[in-house]
Amino acid sequence: MESIKSYKKELIIIGICGLLIGLFGALLVKFGNPKNMGFCIACFIRDTAGGLGLHTAAKVQYIRPEIIGLILGAFGISFIRKEFKPRGGSSPITRFVISFFVMVGCLMFLGCPLRMTLRIAGGDLNAIVGLVGFVAGILVGIVFLKRGFSLKRAYPQAPVEGGTMPAIQIVLLILLLAAPAFIYFSTEGPGASHAPIIISLCAGLIVGGMAQVSRLCMVGGIRDFVLFREKKLLFGFIILLAAAFIVNLCLGNFNPGFADQPVAHSDGLWNFMGMLLVGYGSVLLGGCPLRQLILSGEGNSDSAVTVLGLLVGAAFCHNFGLASSPDGVTFAGKIGVIIGLCVITVIALAYTKKNRV
């Protein structure tokens, strides 16, 4: 008989996970990460893309050890818990396209759902506008889920397929530590602001392991509450927000307002639109960018492809001027978000009903 976890135990685990992410999220800023950016999956994948020379925005180039840690932490814990299961084949290219546009949305807003939460915890009211867009996007995605949207089944794969993403992280870690001439390191801007490698890596490893155990997902919290009145993931989300808020208050990093927020802009409409795209796309992908990293560590090669979509999306955003900056949004970025909403809607329609499982 397979044991069924008590609900209370599940809530305690996800509560601890939310607490740790909120705590580390706020503390990594203290150790040197950009403000309200202790963790940001989108920003850090973007910085890694820059570090590898996939884009040439000089201010955002650094192989972020947090990403390496998150994937390896999830890999290690899932391996120990016998949950490392190589699988894939669930519409990989479609997932790549969706995640490409999820990144376009993230870089319009300047943050992933996790950083959105950390921004709110730091008093950035623009992120509340983003949250409204995020929830709206999730609701749109849910309409398709209810009508039978599915990217179809994944199937078991060879161990090498599941182990490739963790192996790539080892290579990235070596490149970061060895710092050969072809790896870029920002000398100014957000990419130059970072905690010491060992601290970032350990924070990533711990959070990656905890997120694997707890299944924390920023999209899942709102999605499951709306669909099933299920509160577990939402509880993690709220604890995370509260923990980061309290640490920010203690460190003097809570500055409420819209104007002059760190690595943010105050264009309300496009903060909304960016996160609308992120919420919508992430629901179709089955989880937020953080969750995709964790699943890629568990051997899910569809999530690995999703992470690569985020990476390529980030490179495109900076090479073609789609990414926002504290100076504001760009025309190309607005076009990118609108195209993203259209493409994702076409995908949602194409995979709904007729492909019903």
Binding site: I4, R87, L145, S150, L151, L227, E230, V357
Partner: protein, 68 residues
């Protein structure tokens, strides 16, 4: 028999929810990962159903029965 193998979140739970809406008294659900197993058993228990499950070589078989 509801086979949720290989499907992304939250599709396994949606499949179970839709099956429950059909009004039958018992279901057998197959899941191929621990997350889906936890999500399905939690959902069914919260809906007031009796739940039991077993794992065999990575395949979870869940039995859900309406409490009478």
């Amino acid at each position: 028999m509801i086979d949720t193998s290989g499907l992304s979140c939250p599709e396994p739970v949606i499949m179970v929810k839709k099956a429950m809406e059909s009004g039958e008294d018992s279901y057998t659900v197959i899941a191929d990962n621990r997350t889906a197993f936890e999500n399905i058993t939690r959902f069914a228990a919260h809906q007031g159903f009796g739940v039991s499950g077993e794992e065999n070589d990575g395949v979870y078989t869940i039995r859900i029965e309406r409490n009478k």
